[in-house]
């Protein structure tokens, strides 16, 4: 045992200090999430395997798990629909963080799997990773979900996104009808334009049937904070709020907590009706299946972004099948259904404009005069940095 004498000795105090330092480091760096098992599997396409040369290989990259009842699941369902097309083979990787890891995943998909089209779906993948890879592989097409494409970016980059706030508006109409207390709750991750737009559209929908309604917003600070999301939902229920919805990565916690507390909820991203069979009213869902199927057929026809056959900016709402409204739950009244269907029809025919003056922020600033309106396509709406009157919450942290 003599060799032990020569080994490095640490004093108790040093170790306690080291222990604390590591704890601090671990907490700040979220060490627990540093190592994720990457999962990659190929969906079986109808055609025979081994004839990969004929298939168009399309790669999908997700930031989280594929079955989270949320953002990633919505994309994965769309990917599966694209994979069902004869002649398209999809490859997928889940749990890819928004770091250089995604650049490596893209490179692998291109060089090893021979992918010709990539769909890195998360917001943070775009700049700089997609842009760098697009420069390096000019014959591969990159499609990004989000509004970050601008003129002058590489020719082989495109962006697509849906006006899901139209579906939020319809959900708001239902929520406005179903709330007894006149108070709605919105659990949101971060005050970024997409989130604020959903909150505002939801509130406008509710106000269209009950002008006095209030939407309480609680920001949790990040996209996946299960404990805080549950706390937020519980606090809202304590405050007499009786319909909650959310904009976080996975709405599962919010929906389940609302159901446990016996209040109503409206979903987001995907259909969560199975999580809250009694209280689920409706929800705003992405409908990537139709978008992806359409794109897949264009790829097979040999159309590309580079030749200009596919638009660099694809946008659409309910009418273009970029998003949809969940089927109404059992609790929804006939009156609410009628009004919601009317709102949906109005949005689909472009007769109903969500952002129609006068609109004031909840701080009293006029953002839209009485005679003005902003159509869904208006880029002004993609820069939203305010909460409208009727929303109880604040953008500044």
């Amino acid at each position: 045992m003599t060799y032990r004498k020569t080994s490095l000795r640490l004093s108790r105090r040093q170790v306690v200090r080291g222990l604390l330092a590591t704890t601090a480091f671990g907490i700040t760096a979220k060490l627990g999430t540093g190592c994720t098992a990457a999962e990659s599997d190929s969906a079986a396409s109808g055609s025979a395997t081994g004839s990969g040369a004929e298939n168009v290989v399309v790669g999908f990259i997700y930031v989280g798990p594929k079955d989270d009842f949320g953002y990633n699941q919505a994309h994965a369902e769309g990917a599966a629909a694209m994979g069902a097309i004869e002649g398209i083979q999809i490859i997928e990787e889940a749990n890819v963080p928004e770091t250089t890891a995604v650049a490596e995943t893209m490179r692998n998909m291109i060089e090893i799997d021979g992918a010709k089209v990539l769909f890195p779906t998360s917001f943070g993948y775009f700049d700089p990773y997609i842009l760098e890879m697009a420069e390096e592989f000019p014959d591969v097409q990159f499609f990004h979900a989000g509004g970050m494409y601008q003129d002058g970016m590489p020719d082989n980059v495109g962006s697509y996104f849906g006006y899901i706030d139209e579906a939020e508006y319809v959900a708001g109409v239902v929520a406005g009808h179903m709330s007894q207390s006149g108070k709605l709750g919105f659990v949101a991750a971060k005050p970024i334009p997409q989130v604020l737009r959903n909150i505002n559209s939801y509130t406008l929908g509710a106000k269209s049937v009950n002008p006095d309604i209030i939407t309480k917003v609680i920001f949790t600070g990040d996209w996946a904070m299960p404990v805080k999301e549950a706390e937020a939902t519980n606090s809202m229920a304590d405050q007499g709020i009786d319909v909650v919805t959310c904009h976080v990565d996975s709405p599962k916690v919010v929906m389940e907590t609302a159901e446990k507390r016996g209040i109503y909820c409206t979903g987001y991203h995907a259909n969560q009706a199975s999580l809250a069979p009694k209280g689920y009213l409706t929800g705003a869902e992405w409908d990537w299946s139709s978008v992806y199927t359409q794109l897949g057929e264009q790829f097979l026809a040999g159309k590309t972004l580079m030749s200009g056959d596919i638009d660099h900016i694809l946008r659409g709402g309910l009418a273009d099948n970029f998003c949809k409204v969940s089927d109404y739950g059992p609790a929804v009244t006939e009156q609410a259904k009628t009004d919601a269907d009317a709102a949906k029809a109005g949005l689909m025919s472009n007769e109903l404009v969500i952002y129609k003056g006068p609109i004031e922020t909840n701080a009293g600033r006029v953002v839209l005069a009485a005679d003005k309106e902003l159509k869904q396509q208006d880029l002004e709406l993609e820069k939203m940095d305010y909460l409208i009157e009727g929303v109880d919450g604040s953008v500044g942290g």
Binding site: L19, A224, D238, V253
Partner: protein
């Protein structure tokens, strides 16, 4: 369905309810770490153990619901969580006691191993809903629905409440407790008494990891009641800091856990009554609390009262 709004009373009630709901994982992990550190070894890997426990509890509860029914299967999940923790603990206990191996370094490796394994095996359980543990409605007397819902206690939390004084009594008044303290304070003396240091430490680490695994079961089977990869958000690591804060005293671990559990509820509770400013700060309350504790308790000018003598010493 509409409930009367509570207004400002929502803040203390929210924090109280958050304390009752959210402190169980802290409690179990800190009690487990307390037992481990009392024997003179540190197990930083409890963050990984917590995740592994949460995953196995959820998975087992989901998979066995058709075999034993949804009433019993969550309890099987709790047991499975404890045993999965014990396996991780056994790996740590064996590795950390090899010559010239640093237990802090092994602990960090175990965080990565435990969480990686949990994420890998947990993939199929993210989507399905597993049967949850029953709750005890202590608040049945109240006509206020908010209080009623705040007082839905988890039996696991009550078990944790009971374990804290039991562990205190174990350390103070039993022969086995004396062995653990002897090994932790003065391994030489323990060896002279004829106690196997390896075995005592191994068992302490395994028992501690068993408790931490059950802490994970609280997360996935009670509150918030799902299995996701972000479920722990650093709670396992915070619990390690909490043991130092509690001066290695199980009953003080209990108070510290309640404090940390309540801190998690501050941000949402304040926002729900309309305090909208500084919500990032309030949301970060548990982390800020951890930092403050470190600054307050870690002074180079004095030693910590209650620290096991052999903690961090090479043997």
């Amino acid at each position: 369905m509409a409930a009367e709004a509570l207004g400002w009373w929502g803040v203390p009630l929210g924090i109280l309810a958050g304390t009752l709901r959210g402190s169980a994982p802290f409690l179990f992990v800190s009690l487990g770490e307390c037992l481990t550190e009392k024997s003179g070894k540190i197990n930083l890997g409890l963050e990984g153990t917590l995740l592994m426990g949460a995953m196995s509890a959820y998975g087992v509860s989901y998979l066995t619901q058709d075999i034993v029914g949804p009433g019993l299967s969550p309890w099987l999940g709790v047991v499975a969580a404890g045993f999965s923790g014990m396996v991780l603990g056994a790996i740590h206990g064996w590795l950390a006691q090899q010559p010239r191996v640093n237990d802090v370094a092994v602990g960090i490796a175990m965080i990565i191993f435990g969480s990686g394994l949990a994420f890998f095996l947990g993939k199929p359980f993210i989507q399905p809903q597993a049967p949850q543990l029953v709750t005890l409605n202590v608040g049945g007397w109240s006509s206020v629905p908010q209080i009623e819902s705040a007082l839905k206690l988890s039996p696991l939390f009550l078990i944790g409440l009971a374990i804290a004084p039991l562990l205190q009594w174990f350390f103070r008044s039993t022969r086995w407790g004396l062995y653990v303290r002897a090994v932790g304070d003065s391994p030489e003396a323990a060896k002279a008494m004829g106690i196997s240091i390896f075995q005592v430490r191994m068992l302490s680490i395994m028992a501690g990891s068993f408790l931490a695994g059950i802490g994970g079961a609280c997360l996935s089977l009670y509150y918030p009641g799902v299995w996701t990869e972000r479920i722990s958000s650093g709670q396992g690591l915070m619990a390690v800091a909490l043991v130092i804060f509690a001066h290695w005293n199980p009953v003080q671990c209990l108070w510290a856990s309640l404090l940390f559990g309540g801190a998690q509820a501050i941000g949402p509770a304040f926002q729900s009554v309309g305090i909208d400013t500084y919500y990032y700060l309030f949301n970060a309350a548990p982390y800020i609390l951890t930092l403050l504790i470190m600054i307050i308790t870690c002074s180079p000018k004095r030693t910590l009262i209650g620290a096991p003598g052999a903690l961090g010493q090479e043997d």
